[in-house]
Symmetry: C2
Subunit: 134 residues, 2 copies
C-alpha cells in the first residue's frame, strides 16, 4: 500500500497547474523527478523559453504563512547558480493566484530561517504574467 | 502490486549513472518526472553549466541496434528548440561506455523511422568527455 499525504497531493496538483500555465504561455516546462536515491539539490520545475531559463520551487500554502529553512533556500540558490537559471519561489495560497518571489526578498526569522507570508507575497511577488513576460 | 519491467529498471539505472557523471563533471543535472497525466514532450535529463544547456534522451540498448520512431525524435527536437537546449541522444550499449549522438546524425530506416546501431554510435557519437568539455 502506498500512502501519500494530502499535502503532497496538493503540492503535485499545484505543480501540474503551473506547468499547464507555462506551456499555455509559450514556455517549455518540466517537473523534476523526486530525488529518490540521488542526493543532489534540485528544484520542482524547470522552464525555458529561448535564452531565458527559470527554476521554480513551488510552495502550496494552506495557512497565512509558512516557514522555509535556510538550508533549502541555500541549496536552491546554489543549484540555480550552477545550472544557470533564474531562481523563483512559486507560492500558491488557497483561493489566491500564484505569486513569484525572488529568494532575496524572503524575510529572515529570528531562528535564521525564512518565512513566506501572504502579506510579503502580495507586496514583493510578481504575478504569473509579470514573471513570464519579463 | 506495482510491476516494473527489467527494461525500465535498466533505463532508470542508466539515467542515474549519467546524472552522477554529470555532477562529477561540474554540471547540474536533473531527471525529468514521467509524463503521468501531462501530455507535453519532455526529455529524460536536463543539464546546465553556465550558458550551456543540454537535454538528453537516454537509450539503454541490450542489442546491437534499436529503432526509434520519427515522432519521438520530432517531439524531442521540438522541445529542445522551444526550451533552448542542445539535443543529445545518450546511448548506452551493454558493456560499452556512453555515446552521445546529435539527432541529425541518426540513420533513417525504410519505414521512415530511425535506427541507432553500435556502428553508428562509434562512428558519429561523442564520448562523455567530448560532450561535457565542448
Amino acid at each position: 500500500m502506498i500512502l501519500i499525504s494530502m499535502t503532497k497531493i496538493k503540492g503535485i496538483r499545484a505543480e501540474r497547474e503551473l506547468i499547464h500555465m507555462l506551456w499555455n504561455a509559450g514556455w517549455s516546462a518540466v517537473r523534476i523527478a523526486g530525488s529518490g536515491s540521488m542526493r543532489y539539490p534540485s528544484p520542482d520545475i524547470i522552464a525555458g523559453k529561448g535564452n531565458r531559463k527559470m527554476a521554480i520551487e513551488c510552495k502550496s500554502i494552506g495557512k497565512i504563512s509558512m516557514n522555509i529553512t535556510r538550508r533549502q533556500i541555500d541549496d536552491f540558490k546554489k543549484f540555480c547558480s550552477m545550472f544557470g537559471a533564474e531562481p523563483w519561489l512559486g507560492v500558491r495560497f488557497d483561493n489566491l493566484n500564484w505569486f513569484f518571489l525572488n529568494p532575496e526578498d524572503l524575510k529572515e526569522t529570528e531562528g535564521k530561517n525564512f518565512v513566506i507570508s501572504i502579506e510579503l507575497a502580495k507586496r514583493k511577488g510578481l504575478s504569473f504574467e509579470q514573471l513570464t513576460e519579463k
